[in-house]
Symmetry: C2
């Protein structure tokens, strides 16, 4: 087990009816920016539930945060925060809205001239404007971590930021919010959370026996509930385990003491940038090829995963490891997620080269748990995913 530090101060309020807790959790004298996305919260009743609990607090609404939270839009929100002396951000939405709130939390307290530098200069944010979340789409885990990814259309950049000051003060997780989520987004959420776990688990053994089992627990739970979530989002047992699994998949706990990969995300981000493919779907495209390409390095963990998560007990280590990749791809298919780039675009020729070119251009230092994958490796992996 590697040395680690772990701290996660976010308060979680989980379960049916928890949105009503907002009144108790939010400071009475808060001057609130209510941040949300494309307006689905006004159609599914969540907006009414939220505003009903805010009482006579001062609330300014700011909607329209897009699926990949866009810098230009967020700068408009920042202007509102500054002009109206906002003291608290309440993000009601999925990962994009919450990631946007994290940028705003940091930018509101940033004293430099250009808030974009928070991202380009890799500033670790020690203190931000307080913010809380009401999660409406289980997937990213952003509701219980301090990381954020912001997109800037103008420069075609998608950059990460974070810091110990960017944990939500509290997050409300009511599994009943998934009732109105379209199948496509439910499948994306399951795939996203599943891949988050794989990125922190599918590396090499380091004697982190407990962490391995915790990661496997989340994978097993997602596999168990996935068909039920898709078949009937009102199945509360399925919905609640889906939601809590998504949060636990990326709240920092399972990555402590182990190496992490995150190469699937790095390559996936480029496919989103190039073709606008849903983030989760790019992960399902890249992951099987990535594990096949890096088979030798990941063989032991692949076999362990096959045995413990997929009950593959027959065959050699190599055979169990190979079978585990097949089962993973089958799982994505069962969710209705296609796993080849050619399923999404006819214009895939040259994508491997383009991804490699982009990585090279940025002076990429190496991907994966050994930071050893080169742009040329990424090219091969993406080509395997055509």
């Amino acid at each position: 087990m590697n040395n680690f530090q772990y701290q996660n101060p976010t308060k979680i309020l989980f379960g049916k009816g928890q949105i009503a807790s907002l009144d108790k959790e939010l400071p009475r004298d808060a001057n609130i920016l209510l941040l949300y996305g494309g307006g689905s919260i006004k159609r599914n009743g969540i907006y009414e539930q939220v505003t009903a609990t805010l009482g006579d607090r001062k609330v300014v609404e700011f909607g329209g945060i897009p699926a990949n939270p866009e810098y230009a839009k967020l700068m408009e929100a920042l202007k509102v925060i500054r002009e109206l002396d906002i003291t608290y951000i309440l993000a009601v939405g999925g990962g994009s809205v919450i990631d946007g709130a994290k940028f705003l939390s940091a930018a509101a307290r940033y004293t430099g001239d250009d808030p974009w530098k928070i991202l380009t200069d890799n500033i670790s944010v020690k203190e931000g404007l307080p913010f809380a979340t009401v999660l409406t789409l289980p997937a990213t885990g952003s509701e219980m971590n301090s990381g954020s990814v912001i997109t800037r259309a103008e420069t075609k950049e998608k950059l990460a930021m974070g810091g110990p000051g960017l944990f939500p003060v509290f997050s409300i997780l009511d599994p009943e919010v998934i009732h109105s989520i379209p199948q496509r987004q439910l499948a994306n959420g399951i795939t996203d959370a599943f891949t988050h776990v794989l990125e922190q688990y599918m590396t090499y053994p380091t004697g982190a026996l407990l962490q391995d089992r915790l990661a496997e627990s989340i994978l097993q739970t997602l596999i168990e509930v996935a068909p039920k979530v898709l078949e009937d989002p009102t199945d509360y047992t399925a919905a609640s385990n889906f939601m809590w699994s998504c949060t636990m998949a990326l709240n920092g706990l399972i990555s402590k003491g182990v190496p992490t990969d995150w190469a699937v995300h790095a390559m996936g981000h480029e496919l989103t940038a190039l073709y606008g493919i849903d983030h989760a779907r790019t992960l399902a495209i890249v992951a099987p090829s990535h594990y096949t390409y890096n088979f030798e390095a990941k063989r032991e963990k692949l076999a362990q995963y096959g045995e413990r998560v997929w009950n593959i007990t027959e065959g050699s280590t190599e055979e169990r490891a190979r079978a585990a990749i097949v089962r993973t791809e089958d799982f994505f298919h069962q969710l209705g997620i296609d796993t080849k780039l050619s399923d999404y675009t006819d214009d895939y020729e040259g994508t491997g080269e383009e991804v490699a070119r982009r990585f090279t251009e940025r002076g990429w230092k190496g991907l994966g748990e050994h930071r050893s994958l080169t742009p040329s490796d990424a090219e091969q992996i993406v080509k395997m995913a055509y």
Copy 2:
């Protein structure tokens, strides 16, 4: 899954050499009370490691906190805190020293006339004097929770306290500290952590699929590392997983969304009070009888535990559940822990009645996950453990 709230702000610094982090984590201007137990830290080198990092901070030592932290002794420490304007407590020890630090943290900020009322009046402590811990004995999980149990010899009372203000600011978990722990205490630590998980898991199914698997992960890890920890405490993989499992067993996570039992602890405490048997050993005495006595209510979970944790796949639900109890008792035996009261005392006749009498005298409201066990049930359970 039941509704729940979860928040745990304690910062964990885990791994080899982490004691040196004290210098960075402790405020420079802190006026520190260094709290410890019987002095083993002066024999095993931990005292030197700790004091070497404290630099020129003002430090007052207070040793001698006994195995069940004693109120009278703690009141002496409280006097020191008040007289010397202590601003920070550093607890170096196991669960007893850390529990003692929690009482002192609360008492130092308590404005009433008699600090014992913090326990008798069940005061939820919102804010205490800041304190941190260096864990020297994995077992109780006190290093990452906000609960404490204090003993008062004068009145033969052993009472619990806690509150959101009683989480350690940070805790240092260096698995190498177990090198010098006697076998008896290592076996106790494993048994204590294992039973902590059972108390939060061995109830009835509530559709908390993820929590069940997380609990099972800790049990599986403890079973895997237990023989290695006892055979060679310098086996770092075994030591680190043992230590992290003990913390994860009682940091609040696995109890969220599920019913909890804690009847084994309630009965066990009485056996410690009556015969001075080590806390962990009383749990091993009571648990098998408790699960046998409450077999019908716990059958489903016992069978699930047997199947997933002990790989008992043959037989009916009832047979797997019965076999799981046998395997649990065998596990304790393999740790060198006797599981019958008569293994510890010849004077056991009448113990069941005495435990029942004590519960009745206190106006007991019912034990177990249904709060339905009566003093008479406890009497039968204890008698089954003779």
